[in-house]
Amino acid sequence: MNLLYFAWLRQKTGRSEEQFDLPQDIATVRALAEHLARRGGGYAEGFADLGRLRAAVNREHVPFDAPVADGDEVAFFPPVTGG
């Protein structure tokens, strides 16, 4: 799957995008975020508080309990501030 990071989360992870092989035991956006946090470093900092983040799966806003599957495009980002 393709993972995308935006705004300060992109700065924490040090990249805007990465390819990721989804482990079989990860079924939700929340489990994926928690898995990424366990990488440590900037990932641990960026994903420390999921209350500060939002997610999109295949370019649609989703709650953290939404399902993920291999092949999805999953984006993590802070609450949006456009307009």
Binding site: L4, A7, A75, P79, G82, G83
Partner: protein
């Protein structure tokens, strides 16, 4: 019409184009947002999620068309580095009568603020900082439900 990119826009030209497309519109309401120079702001730097942005805006334009009898809608949002005074966002709605046009404009701005995937960073003399989302914007979007 939805356009997202770094380029500036001409409000009069956009209005004329919308009115031409909209046919017999008796009312066109518009909102133009400009960068404010509060607290010594040097520039705003906007990034977005290109693959998602236009689709998300289009979803809200469709929602507005279901709520009001609109004859046309234009949404323009700039990205990149913008200095105080520059135009940043434009929303225009055309309808037969004014109420639908006014309300659709406000609805679209409220929804853009909390759903369209843009992020602002402020550039100050001492560095840059990310703009935090505002609770008041969430509340503004909720009142349309």
């Amino acid at each position: 019409m939805i356009r997202v990119g770094p380029g500036d826009f001409d409000v009069a030209a956009e209005l004329a184009a919308l009115h031409a497309r909209a046919g017999d519109a008796g009312a066109v309401a518009t909102f133009t947002g400009h960068v404010r120079g509060d607290d010594g702001l040097i520039a705003l730097i906007l990034e977005h999620y290109p693959a998602m942005t236009e689709r998300e805006i289009a979803r809200h334009v469709e929602a507005a068309k279901k709520k009001w009898p609109l004859l046309g809608v234009s949404v323009i949002h700039r990205v990149g580095r913008l200095v105080p005074g520059e135009r940043i966002v434009f929303v225009a709605a055309a309808a037969a009568h004014r109420r639908a046009a006014f309300e659709a404009c406000e609805f679209l701005m409220d929804y853009l603020k909390v759903h369209a995937p843009f992020w602002k960073r402020e550039e100050h003399a001492d560095g840059t900082r990310w703009v935090e989302a505002k609770q008041v914007d969430d509340e503004a979007a909720k009142r349309w439900r």
